[in-house]
């Protein structure tokens, strides 16, 4: 079997050299088990069967599928997207050898993760960061699992959680994002494959960063991740996801659902570094990133904080949101979205204030270069019972060149007059004077641009765990390459 598994190293290197801007564009050539293209009930039954799922979960999927069939693709976002043919892609791909442990993982795949900067081997693991590695439709391995288990923390793949912690999954799945929530959420509920599950028990402060690394490898395959994070009373957890995919000339769909639930006095910090393949300079290929992310601060004094750095994908459509149910709960959204070449992003958040004294903060930084189009779309809703709700929104856009665009659509719905809202918005161009100033001090134009843009994003980057803030800065610089001159 092993002999059959080979990585086309030469091709990978060639591709990497060809396009330095996206250095994660290589393909791992492993023997994969991929479903035939197309979507129907049988495909869903087969996914469920492969995963040895209980009957209720199959029902959950089939119900979602039925609803999805009746729904229409949303088209209100400011995006130009080619019609997606849902029957032209495959809904399940997995390396043929399902590893029992780290030792069983194909060395080619381990090397892939090494190249991506996330070594999975025990001796090389990142200190203080537990990783769940999801390769196409399956989770390969989760590091530091045992150490976390000593504290009662569950961190494992979603599929494993269905087997080992069925009651928790049954209790929480779809509770924050109902299957019928929106078109892509319904599709995800029907066909989701893998993702991570986190449960932090009462009063436990998770001692390390938990992170999931999503990698799309197979061609013509959609990735439908499902992640669920539960923070029980008084607990605290910080979670990070990272994403990359090979360069391909056809677009691929990634439609994820992430549900967060924070009980009394609990805090969940969720960070994303999204670096899916953005397509080439002419807008060919790239990932369609249609994601539903929502957290519910069900408990009083709970807090959910989203931080995202979105530099990849051809199209990004996501609005990580907070439902502030518990009194005194806090929701935060810090976002950097960069669009270069022909990338499009329509992203923002929803802050739904239900409880008393709830507070939300939105800081959005949009960067547009090339022909990129960047839209912030945000809703702040204050319900009748949400006495003394407060929101602060700051939306800044920066333009590089004159062919790109930035758009801001803030929606506000207030049903309680005690609400206090503050909104600030700015749009600026990277000033020639700023660039010249830096050059006069000895920096190249590209270094100057990345310095200025990183400064622009400072307020968001400081919300990221330290190791990842450095990565985010680097990523931003790389994504901006070629946008000056």
């Amino acid at each position: 079997m092993r002999e059959e598994l080979k990585i086309d190293n030469d091709q990978a290197t060639k591709e990497m050299l060809e396009n330095e801007e996206y250095k994660y564009g290589f393909v791992t050539d492993v023997d994969q088990d991929v479903f035939p293209v197309g979507l129907n009930e049988n495909v869903i039954r087969e996914i469920s069967k492969r995963k040895e799922e209980p009957e209720w979960l199959l029902k959950f999927r089939l119900n979602a599928y039925k609803k999805w069939l009746k729904m229409k693709e949303p088209n209100w976002a400011k995006l130009k997207v080619e019609k997606i043919d849902y029957n032209s892609m495959s809904y399940f791909a997995t390396p043929k050898e399902r590893p029992e442990s780290l030792d069983d993982i194909d060395p080619e795949i381990l090397e892939t993760y090494d190249k991506l900067g996330i070594p999975l081997e025990e001796q090389k693991m990142l200190e203080g960061v537990a990783v769940d590695a999801v390769f196409d439709s399956v989770s390969l391995v989760t590091t530091f699992k045992d150490k976390l288990a000593e504290l009662g923390i569950i961190f494992c793949s979603f599929s494993e959680a269905v087997k080992d912690h069925e009651s928790l999954i049954k209790k929480y799945l779809g509770r924050v994002i109902p299957a019928s929530d929106n078109y892509f959420a319904a599709l995800n509920a029907a066909v989701f494959t893998d993702g991570s599950f986190v449960y932090v028990p009462k009063g436990v402060r998770c001692p390390m960063e938990l992170s999931t690394y999503f990698r799309i490898n197979a061609e013509n395959t959609g990735q439908f991740e499902r992640t669920l994070i539960i923070a029980d009373e008084g607990s605290h957890v910080s979670y990070l996801e990272g994403c990359t995919a090979p360069k391909r000339s056809t677009s691929q769909l990634h439609a994820a659902c992430v549900e967060l639930l924070a009980h009394d006095d609990a805090t969940i910090k969720y960070s994303t570094i999204q670096n899916w393949y953005p397509g080439d300079k002419n807008g060919k290929g790239g990932i369609y990133n249609f994601v539903t992310k929502r957290g519910n601060c069900v408990g009083k004094n709970s807090r959910i904080s989203w931080t995202q750095v979105e530099t990849g994908s051809a199209v990004t459509w996501k609005y990580p949101s907070c439902i502030l149910t518990g009194d005194n709960s806090v929701g935060e959204f810090y976002s950097v979205a960069l669009t270069n070449n022909w990338q499009q992003a329509d992203t923002g958040t929803k802050m739904i204030h239900l409880g008393k004294n709830t507070k939300s903060t939105i800081v959005s930084k949009g960067i547009s270069a090339g022909q990129g189009q960047n839209t912030y779309r945000g809703l702040v809703q204050v319900s009748e019972n949400a006495q003394d709700a407060r929101n602060y929104t700051q939306c800044d856009s920066i333009l590089i060149g004159d062919k790109c665009g930035a758009h801001t659509f803030p929606y506000i719905e207030i049903k309680n007059p005690s609400a206090q809202l503050e909104h600030e918005a700015t749009t600026s161009k990277v000033g020639e004077d700023q660039i010249f100033y830096c050059q006069q001090r000895g920096m190249s134009e590209e270094d100057a641009l990345s310095l200025i843009v990183n400064g622009f994003c400072k307020e968001v980057f400081k919300e990221l765990p330290f190791e990842f803030a450095v990565e985010a800065e680097r990523l931003l610089s790389v994504s901006l390459e070629g946008s000056v001159g």
Binding site: G431, D433, Q434, F436, Y437, C438, Q439, Q440, R441, G442, M443, S444, E445, D447, L451, I452, N454, G455, F456, C457, K458, E459
Partner: protein, 246 residues
């Protein structure tokens, strides 16, 4: 060190410099005075390599080589420094980070190793003390919210850290209080030596009491109409520019 020959420059078809000649030797201090709009800042920007200008005639030699084709950063790396009349702000980029990036870019161009953050901070703290500036200015965003005088002093701080051999100071004295003027002048004088030259643009003779020029030039309407020693500045102070214009 710096030789400007018959320099003609336009911006948007408007003639600003009309045949300017100026030669600055090693270790010399030259001062340029002249009425508002006469082209002083234009000259400074052109020396630094700003692209908005069209050079229609003439040449600029630095250490014997024409720099007209050089990018602004190459000129900076060669040792040309401009203290801006209006220093710009870069939000979110700390003063010290900016300066370290700048210094390391210059070091890199010379094949030197970058300074580590600790080494840099030591250097910056030492220099900032000389300029009697508050250390907290190092951690603040570059020039953002700095007072007018703080911005000017910060330019001199940058000069003393980047260590250029040709410094052009564009009205660095404007907006400084009397004590600050003295401190900035001390900073400049401390930087002065046999290999470092200065071009000091100013409206006020007062500055030249502290930074004593070897030559004073008067720029009117895009050309140098008169040159002399430091006494020329005193003469201008009492007579104004009108007697030189025609």
């Amino acid at each position: 060190m710096l030789e400007i020959k018959n320099l003609h420059a336009n911006i948007e078809d408007k003639k600003i410099l009309k045949g300017l000649n100026l030669s600055i030797g090693k270790g010399e201090v030259h001062s340029i005075m002249g009425p508002n709009g006469s082209g002083k800042s234009t000259l400074a920007s052109i020396l630094a390599g700003k692209e908005d200008y069209e050079i229609t005639d003439g040449d600029i030699l630095f250490n014997g080589e024409s720099i007209l084709e050089m990018s602004p950063e190459e000129r900076a790396q060669e040792g040309i420094f401009l203290a801006f009349q209006y220093p710009i702000e870069i939000p979110g980029v700390s003063n010290s980070y900016f300066l370290r990036e700048a210094l390391n870019s210059i070091r890199k161009s010379k094949g030197e190793d970058p300074l580590k953050p600790v080494e840099f901070i030591k250097l910056a703290k030492e220099k900032i003390k000389h300029l009697k500036m508050d250390e907290s200015l190092l951690n603040r965003s570059l020039n953002e919210g700095f007072s007018g005088g703080e911005k000017k002093r910060n330019e001199i701080l940058q000069m003393s850290i980047l260590n250029p051999c040709m410094s052009i100071l564009d009205e660095t004295d404007s907006g400084l209080d009397i004590d600050a003027l003295q401190i900035v002048a001390n900073g400049v004088n401390a930087h002065k030596d046999a290999n470092r030259s200065f071009l000091v643009i100013t409206h006020y003779q007062r500055l030249l009491n502290y930074i004593v020029p070897d030559f004073v030039h008067v720029l009117v309407g895009g050309v140098i109409v008169k040159s002399g020693d430091k006494s020329l500045a005193l003469e201008l102070e009492s007579k104004g520019y009108s007697w030189l214009e025609n």
